[in-house]
């Protein structure tokens, strides 16, 4: 399917989700309130740490604020688009509902990435995240390199989505709805500067589940702390995860057995 067609479907799905969600204004305020409280508590936690020290793992407060903003932004963008679709996958496999999607002329993993998007619910989160990034960048005093940041942010999102796909594919072998939850918990480790981790844990979080690349590299790119070599490495890593995720998905989809009827 062509990109143009996906963009048309994307727009249509976005409109439908907004229409759907407008019926649930109370849910909007509850979810938004809960999310904002969670974000606030995380910021307060780091603020309290910085009352005792100037740096955490070599990161000053302004850079950690950019890191937190980036973490919230990626989480918000992921939940606004693909997470909700892949969250439904275990249920679709268990009930055989995937049948309906498999017969449509659309690439399933792409369609699932926007079919259940949630543009309404997440804009407050995105605004707060962008605010944190802007505030942190302002406080850092360093020259801001927005284009470099956006490039690394794109790589981070590609890796994040690829990890979501890789964890989702496990459901084609064993239906475990908690796989996305596990992926989410692992990715949460990225809200701390990667430099606080040591040895095997750091290696694991840099290569196997590369939360370092996902969350730590864009903030460094924004304030000019990232070398071109590191940025090139992030682009390569994103490409590797993208192709590995897609290949694993294609192989796993062949294992789909529907519901016997």
């Amino acid at each position: 399917m062509k990109l143009k067609q996906h963009l048309k479907l994307f727009g249509q799905c976005a409109r439908y989700e907004v229409m759907d969600r407008l019926d649930a204004a109370v849910a909007f305020w509850i979810v938004t309130g809960g999310t904002l409280i969670n974000m606030l508590m995380t910021v307060i936690f780091f603020k309290s740490l910085y009352l005792k020290t100037d740096r955490i793992g070599g990161w000053d407060e302004s850079r950690v604020l950019i890191l937190l903003g980036t973490f919230f932004l990626i989480e918000a963008l992921a939940w606004a688009t693909y997470i909700r679709g892949f969250n439904r996958l275990p249920r679709y496999i268990e009930n055989g509902d995937l049948d309906v999607y498999l017969t449509k002329p659309v690439r399933l993993r792409t369609f699932l990435s926007y079919r259940f998007m949630d543009p309404m619910f997440l804009w407050p989160q995105i605004l707060v995240a962008v605010g944190l990034i802007a505030y942190g960048a302002g406080r850092s005093g360093a020259p801001v390199n927005l284009l470099f940041y956006l490039l690394l942010l794109a790589c981070a999102l590609i890796i994040h989505r690829s990890l979501t796909i890789i964890f989702s594919t496990l459901n084609f072998f064993y239906i475990v709805p908690q796989t996305i939850y596990l992926a989410g918990e692992l990715q949460k480790l990225g809200r701390y500067p990667i430099t606080i981790y040591r040895g095997a844990v750091r290696l694991f979080l840099s290569v196997v589940v590369p939360v370092a690349a996902i969350y730590s590299l864009p903030p460094r790119a924004l304030v000019g702390d990232l070398s071109l070599l590191e940025a090139g490495g992030a682009v390569v890593l994103a490409a590797v995860f993208h192709f590995a995720g897609n290949a694993l998905w294609d192989v796993s989809l062949k294992k789909y057995e529907s519901v016997q009827g």
Partner: protein
């Protein structure tokens, strides 16, 4: 000469599953060691279907008919054998192939329940890249045929089951598929809705030459719509031929129901045929098909007949007989 649109050769599908011992201890044991079993859902099935045919796909529960249908539509990968549908290998799930088919499953919904059906149709238009004018004309025509013009703007979950199924069929036909797979499309519907859907499918098949493959436990659907019947039993092809032929082959006797003006004796009626049920004023007699004319004449001449009714065996009776007795077809 007709061109096969579906070619199936020695198609097989195995499912692997695990046996879990009973109780908590069994569940713990299964964490470390499980007995793996293989179910041969479809075995060496071969057939061809021509463009424009309306085929009934029949079999008891678990016979393999839905599994076959899912392999034909690209949902499942075959374990062995080959399938060509509209010139494509369905297992490759190419977009061009998917544009040529459509599947409606009576127990699965494509239309969005929280939105009006028209919104799902609009999404499908974009998905299948149907030009605006073609889409509007086709939607109008299908909605009129199904008599749902006034329901398109109503939230789907507020519609009745029959109305929802009509919307499912419209959704399946908007892109004008060459082949339509129907899996139990009338399940749970009332008689009026069943009739409406049957009539719609018949018209569509005749008007557009769409190849339709229908699986159903409702023999009224099959007998009312299909000219050809494929029976799948225990994963194997049991029968492939016309409905008339299978009825003729499996109904050697015709049942004659008679009401008499005066008392009759069962022993006397036994000369006409096998007496199935009898009271002095009524009888049900089985007569060999080839001797019906001669025996009826004898009955009318020799007994005080008030009313007589010859009933033909229905497809439902034949199929039930085949499945319950395990007869080879």
């Amino acid at each position: 000469m007709s061109v096969p649109v579906i070619e199936v050769k020695k198609l097989s599908k195995n499912f692997t599953y695990h046996k879990k011992p009973e109780g908590l201890a069994g569940t713990f044991k299964a964490l470390f060691r499980r007995e793996t079993l293989i179910k041969e859902a479809v075995r060496d099935v071969s057939f061809t279907i021509d463009q424009g045919e309306f085929i009934g796909f029949v079999g008891p529960n678990g016979a393999g008919k839905t599994t076959t249908l899912k392999m034909l539509s690209g949902i499942l990968y075959p374990t062995a054998g080959s399938v060509r549908v509209a010139g494509f290998d369905p297992a490759r799930r190419q977009d061009e192939f998917k544009r040529k088919i459509s599947i409606v499953m009576g127990q699965k919904s494509l239309v969005w329940p929280t939105l009006p059906a028209i919104e799902t149709f609009n999404l499908l238009q974009k998905m299948y890249e149907v030009p605006d004018d073609v889409y509007r004309a086709r939607l109008k025509q299908l909605a009129e045929l199904m008599e749902v013009q006034d329901l398109l703007q109503i939230q789907v979950r507020k519609l009745s089951l029959g109305q929802r199924m009509k919307c499912e069929l419209i959704a399946a036909l908007l892109h004008d598929p060459q082949i339509l797979f129907l899996d139990e499309p009338t399940i749970g519907l009332d008689v009026v809705s069943q009739k409406k859907i049957r009539s719609f499918l018949r018209q569509h098949n005749e008007a557009y030459g769409t190849t339709i493959i229908l699986t159903s436990h409702n023999m009224d659907d099959v007998q009312g719509l299909c000219r050809r019947l494929i029976i799948i039993n225990e994963g194997r092809l049991g029968y492939d031929g016309s409905i008339e032929r299978i009825i003729a082959e499996h109904s050697q006797d015709k049942t004659v129901k008679v009401i008499f003006n005066k008392r009759t004796a069962a022993e006397d009626l036994a000369k006409v045929g096998q007496v199935i049920r009898h009271n002095p004023y009524e009888a049900e007699i089985a007569i060999p098909s080839e001797a019906v004319a001669e025996r009826i004449s004898a009955l009318l001449a020799g007994f005080p007949v008030k009313d007589i009714n010859i009933t033909a065996v229905t497809l439902e009776e034949v199929i039930a007989d085949i499945f319950s007795s395990g007869k080879k077809t």
